[in-house]
């Protein structure tokens, strides 16, 4: 047990706790991905029981998995045992969520009168025409570092070593591959994906709709999130730029010492951004009360987690559970973006 790293234990328990408190990462009139007319559902006895069971279930599952992980650890390779423990936690806790989603749906059917929710969508055309949207010009902020990284990659290529780092641990690079134009350009793929995501989430609708007051202040919140994504893009671009620069041998000697503190600083800044995102969520989403007729579109939310609606042109939509956006699974292009994200993750960790 002693050889299990602190970092993996912290990651495991952070994920476990996040799963336990997941129900609170939603709008006030949403419970386990099921929409209700108002926030009163959180006070009713049956939903309270469903929440309690979910917390106990996910909590016990985490403890049990942790014990199994520790016991089986010595028999498996280090990273395999960690990945297995994380995958089991993800699947186990998701199963509890799906169960809670089903119970909540049954409760809703039995208790909420049909006329409290609507099949109508009401929008305010004046409000829509003047909606605060992230200006496209903000994306220009990402251009200089992107171009600079390409320039370094092209002009610096002949001066780079024969091995290119593909993975960086806390102590610096810990995996390499042979030098190739693709390996050198690889970090830029992430930036392109990020810009695509920002473009598609710029108009992403709220997870709860029905009337202009169904998700009050949502457009501004979305603009903030887009701004944060751009900041995150700048941080990663800076990181990639420095990484690219450090590949050039003559520069590496001077840059290597600086990189040892640049990584922790940029990682801390990213953590700060995530914390700020959570703060914005609780202030601009969770704290707001929905009012007016609420559109009942649970049928488009599979298990309350995945959105599937063929007639909705949106590729991204605000998550019903958690902070950020999810894709509309009904569109093939959404699958392509998902595959792109997964491919980027896999490519970057394949040599890990």
């Amino acid at each position: 047990m002693l050889s299990i790293s602190h970092a993996s234990i912290i990651t495991f328990w952070t994920l476990a706790v996040l799963f336990c408190i997941q129900p609170w990462f939603s709008r006030k009139n949403v419970l386990f991905g099921v929409v209700f007319p108002d926030a009163a559902v959180w006070q009713a006895p049956v939903p309270k029981r469903i929440i309690r069971r979910y917390i106990i279930g996910t909590g016990l599952a985490a403890v049990l998995l942790f014990i199994v992980w520790i016991v089986s650890f010595s028999r498996l390779e280090r990273s395999i045992s960690f990945n297995l423990a994380m995958a089991a936690l993800l699947i186990g806790d998701s199963a509890f969520f799906v169960l809670a989603n089903r119970q909540t749906r049954t409760y809703k059917k039995a208790v909420v009168p049909a006329d409290r929710l609507t099949n109508k969508m009401i929008i305010d055309t004046t409000q829509s025409a003047h909606e605060p949207l992230m200006p496209l010009s903000w994306l220009l902020a990402l251009l200089p570092l992107f171009l600079a990284t390409i320039a370094v990659a092209i002009w610096g290529y002949p001066f780079m070593g024969s091995n290119i780092p593909t993975h960086y641990g806390l102590t610096g690079p810990d995996a390499w591959t042979h030098k190739s134009p693709l390996a050198v350009m690889q970090p830029l793929i992430f930036d392109v994906l990020l810009v695509i995501i920002i473009l598609f989430t710029r108009r992403a609708p709220a997870a709860v709709k029905g009337n202009p007051n169904a998700a009050p202040g949502y457009a501004l919140y979305r603009k903030w999130l887009n701004g944060l994504l751009i900041l995150f893009g700048l941080v990663t671009e800076l990181l990639f730029f420095l990484m690219e620069l450090s590949l050039i041998r003559p520069i590496h000697t001077y840059l290597a010492p600086a990189l040892t503190w640049v990584f922790p600083v940029l990682s801390s800044f990213t953590l700060l951004l995530i914390a700020f995102m959570a703060y914005l969520f609780f202030r601009m989403v969770r704290a707001k009360e929905s009012s007016g007729p609420i559109f009942d579109n649970d049928r488009h939310w599979i298990w309350g987690l995945f959105y599937f609606n063929r007639s909705d042109p949106s590729l991204f939509i605000e998550k019903r559970i958690g902070i950020g956006y999810t894709v509309n699974m009904a569109h093939p292009i959404a699958w392509l973006i998902l595959v792109g994200i997964l491919a980027a993750v896999v490519i970057s960790s394949i040599y890990h």
């Binding site: 929008i123 025409a129 042109p313």
Partner: protein
């Protein structure tokens, strides 16, 4: 102006969008030159296919209720609501006839129908005055 789309209605969605905007213009809620959301924005906000919104906008444009320009986007053209009365009666007459036929089938009295029409006319006129 509030635009409403009922996903369980038998009326096609494009027709609901078209009727909603025409009602807005008739009641004065939508004024000449008021901006309307783009096809994409409206489609994404309502969660309806862009072809559907496009169909509604094209219809409104052909009827002279809105103007779609690349530079200024979509705008209301209330000044010339502008189809002439005959054309309007021709296109709307059959719809009105169908409603009357249905009302008669249900045994609704002529006076009640008159009253209803007067009521809606007054209501729209009142909203129109309030705007000016």
């Amino acid at each position: 102006m509030q635009l409403s789309v009922d996903f369980h209605s038998e009326k096609p969605i494009y027709q609901q969008i078209r009727d909603g905007i025409v009602t807005g213009i008739a009641s004065g809620t939508l004024q000449d030159g008021d901006p309307l959301p783009s096809v994409r924005a409206l489609g994404m906000e309502l969660g309806v296919n862009l072809h559907t919104v496009n169909k509604a906008y094209k219809l409104l444009q052909s009827e002279g209720f809105i103007e779609i320009q690349r530079s200024r986007g979509t705008q209301v053209k209330a000044g010339k609501t502008a189809q002439n009365a005959a054309e309007f009666l021709q296109t709307s007459g059959s719809a009105l006839r169908a409603v009357l036929a249905e009302a008669m089938r249900r045994g609704i009295d002529r006076a009640v129908l008159h009253q209803m029409i007067d009521h809606f006319y007054d209501q729209l006129e009142g909203e129109n005055h309030a705007k000016h």
